[in-house]
């Protein structure tokens, strides 16, 4: 089974869960006076879930004929031939950044993210990497904090940031 049909199967599952919530559980907390309304909070989601189930079934059973395989940018069947490790590491780095941003502070997290990101991609020129990351971090912090006026904790909490 091709990837697009696997995805259709997952989407079908998603639509079923969504539909279940809309049809069966959502109206339980509805106030009695609202039940006299012609439209409930669940009305629109109910419609969507039915259409979504229909559309995902069409893809799953291949009812709509394709005009043969099209050239794609990346062939997922040969995913391991590409730089999959780098991509996954970068994603992990993004998650780490999301978790660290508040406790560790903006400046350290961002500097580390930019440097480690380059390292993951194979850069080893530390004398270029570190100044570039440092300048970029400070410039972005200044722009966001001072120009846009959005608070970003610069330093870790224990340093009084």
């Amino acid at each position: 089974m091709a990837l697009d049909r696997w995805i259709a199967l997952i989407l079908l599952g998603f639509c079923l869960v969504y539909g279940y919530t809309a049809w069966f559980t959502m109206d339980a907390s509805l106030a009695p006076f609202m039940k006299r309304n012609p439209v409930w909070p669940s009305t629109f989601p109910k419609l969507l879930s039915v259409m979504g189930i229909g559309a995902s079934l069409i893809i799953l059973f291949g009812l709509e004929k394709n005009e043969g395989p099209k050239p794609v940018e990346i062939d997922y069947r040969r995913l391991l031939d590409y730089n999959l490790g780098q991509a996954v590491t970068l994603l992990a780095l993004m998650v780490a950044y999301a978790i660290c941003l508040r406790p560790v502070g903006f400046i350290i997290s961002t500097g580390a993210f930019l440097i480690l990101g380059s390292v993951v991609l194979g850069e080893r020129k530390w004398h270029v990497m570190i100044p570039v990351a440092a300048i970029a971090t400070l410039v972005v912090w200044y722009l966001v904090q001072q120009v846009l006026g959005i608070y970003l904790r610069p330093l870790p909490g224990f340093l009084g940031g």
Binding site: A2, L3, A55, I58, L121
Partner: protein, 504 residues
């Protein structure tokens, strides 16, 4: 209309707005040139900046400037490196790159710039004529018609998504609509589909979703497939002049493609990519025999056609956005999201309630096109140096800007985790050839669609509004026909082909 134009001139010619146009065009050109980064990613990255400025007119002008700049920058990398940064400029590389290989890169860039300028400017004139007319019709619309109109828009996007793709585009639109129902709706103050998570109470952030759908997968694709990252060296660019004879031969092409491109751009779901390919095909078909042989080998007509058409289509795509409040493309959907975040609802009332925004956008289109021609063209040899920025530095920065954009929008670290999760899903969708723009359009239109639906249900105490209002019924019939027609026609063609093969 005249006072509107004057008001627009007054707004657009303030120092701040001029700075926005110039800055937007320059930023757009810079980033649009990077292969792999399309206008949608660039605009998504720029949204937090635009929103935090607080002035809707300035925000739209900045984002629109970035949009034209990105298209222009995309044609530059198509011509110099054969690596289009934007789908709308793929057709540009057919003849632009051969010209550059023959050492005529400067000439190709000039033609591209002039064609873009004319396409954009003629498109803006057409916009000025058609938008007010369309919005006066749209003022007669009722919420039932609005509901039906949005359904038509969404199904047109699915229908024009190409053969074998209709169901995929439909499920993506529906998925976008479903994601749009997460959180507290405007009509009912009742949290829906939040799974008890507090951070989902206010709904998913649209900037987060835009970044996750466009910027993040593009960055990941650059990581996965480094060859695409445009490490080629642009040769020295010289001799930007074109001759009088060349100007004469491309003039009719520019005239035709401006008009054709504009009207294709107006259609929801079509947009710059289709306009540029169609423009190229049409011009090749009507060219003389010897000119036809030149196409694909460095024909100036083959370069001017897609360049004019894609810029005219960009302008055209503003018509449904500004008059009906319905975006026809991913880019205009992002612009719509930014406007809503700034408390401006585009639609027929925009011209009456906030004429300064409406007209300032239109006037800024002229200024933007002028800036691209006068400022960018001489600077191109220098800007092209960005093509040699190593990807080892570029990619971490792109990822960082997507993270920053999502964080600034909501000031919430959960948003960043959502960004990564949606980004991974979006990458999987791209692998399986599912279109992503319909998801975002569905997400942005979802709230309005449901509001109009709920309002009509309440007014008519049920779904009787569908048959009691003929215009609503008509629009909904069109919507169904749009979705069914492509598969019906494909089926008939297939049956006919099978019959020929099986029969005599």
């Amino acid at each position: 209309m005249l006072e509107g134009i004057l008001l627009g001139l007054q707004t657009a010619f303030s120092i701040q707005m001029l700075a926005m146009v110039i800055g937007g065009c320059l930023i757009g050109t810079f980033i649009g040139m990077l292969p792999g980064l399309g206008p949608m990613s660039i605009i998504a990255i720029m949204i937090p900046v635009a929103i935090s400025m607080g002035d809707p007119a300035a925000a739209v002008i900045l984002l629109a400037g970035v949009y034209y700049g990105a298209i222009f920058g995309g044609s530059t990398s198509s011509i110099l490196l054969n690596a289009p940064g934007v789908a709308g400029t793929v057709a540009t590389s057919f003849d632009g790159y051969p010209m550059a290989k023959q050492g005529k890169a400067g000439k190709a860039l000039t033609i591209a710039a002039i064609a873009s300028f004319c396409g954009g400017t003629i498109g803006a004139v057409l916009l000025m004529v058609f938008a007010p007319a369309l919005s006066s019709v749209a003022l007669l619309f009722h919420s039932a018609e609005y509901f039906a109109l949005m359904v038509v828009g969404l199904s047109a996007i699915a229908a024009f998504s190409g053969a074998g793709q209709v169901a995929k585009a439909m499920i993506m639109t529906l998925l976008g609509l479903m994601l749009g129902t997460v959180g507290e709706g405007t009509m009912f103050s009742l949290p829906r589909f939040t799974m008890g998570i507090m951070d989902l109470q206010s709904g998913l952030g649209f900037v987060t979703l835009a970044m996750a759908m466009f910027a993040l997968p593009e960055a990941l694709f650059l990581v996965l497939k480094p060859a695409e990252a445009g490490q080629g060296q642009a040769e020295a660019i010289k001799d930007l002049r074109i001759t009088r004879a060349e100007a004469k031969s491309i003039a009719p092409v520019i005239g035709r493609q401006s008009i054709q491109g504009f009207f294709i751009g107006v259609l929801p779901g079509a947009g710059a990519t289709i306009a540029s390919f169609l423009g190229y095909a049409v011009e090749r078909n009507i060219a003389t025999k010897e000119e036809q042989d030149q196409f694909g080998k460095g024909s100036i007509k083959g370069l001017a056609a897609p360049e004019t058409a894609n810029n005219a289509a960009c302008t055209g795509s503003f018509v449904p956005l500004l008059t009906l409040g319905i975006p026809g493309s991913g880019t205009t959907a992002i612009l719509l999201g930014a406007l809503i975040a700034l408390n401006v609802t585009p639609g027929p009332r925009l011209m009456i309630d906030e004429p300064q925004i409406f007209w300032a956008v239109i006037i800024s289109m002229y200024i933007g096109n002028f800036v691209l021609l006068v400022l960018n063209l001489p600077l191109i040899p220098y800007i092209a140096k960005i093509l040699s920025v190593p990807r080892n530095y570029l990619i971490p920065f792109i990822l960082f800007f997507t993270l920053m954009g999502a964080y600034i929008g909501q000031n919430n670290a959960t948003e960043l985790l959502l960004l990564v999760a949606f980004g991974i899903c979006a990458t999987a969708f791209r692998f399986a050839d599912y279109p992503l723009a319909p998801l975002l359009i569905g997400f942005i239109l979802g709230g309005m669609l449901e509001d109009n639906f709920a309002r009509s249900m309440q007014l008519y105490d049920g779904i009787s509004f569908i048959w009691e209002r003929p215009m609503t019924l008509g629009l909904l019939v069109i919507a169904v026909a749009l979705v069914i027609l492509p598969s019906y026609r494909a089926r008939r063609a297939r049956l006919r082909a099978a019959g020929v093969a099986d029969g005599d």
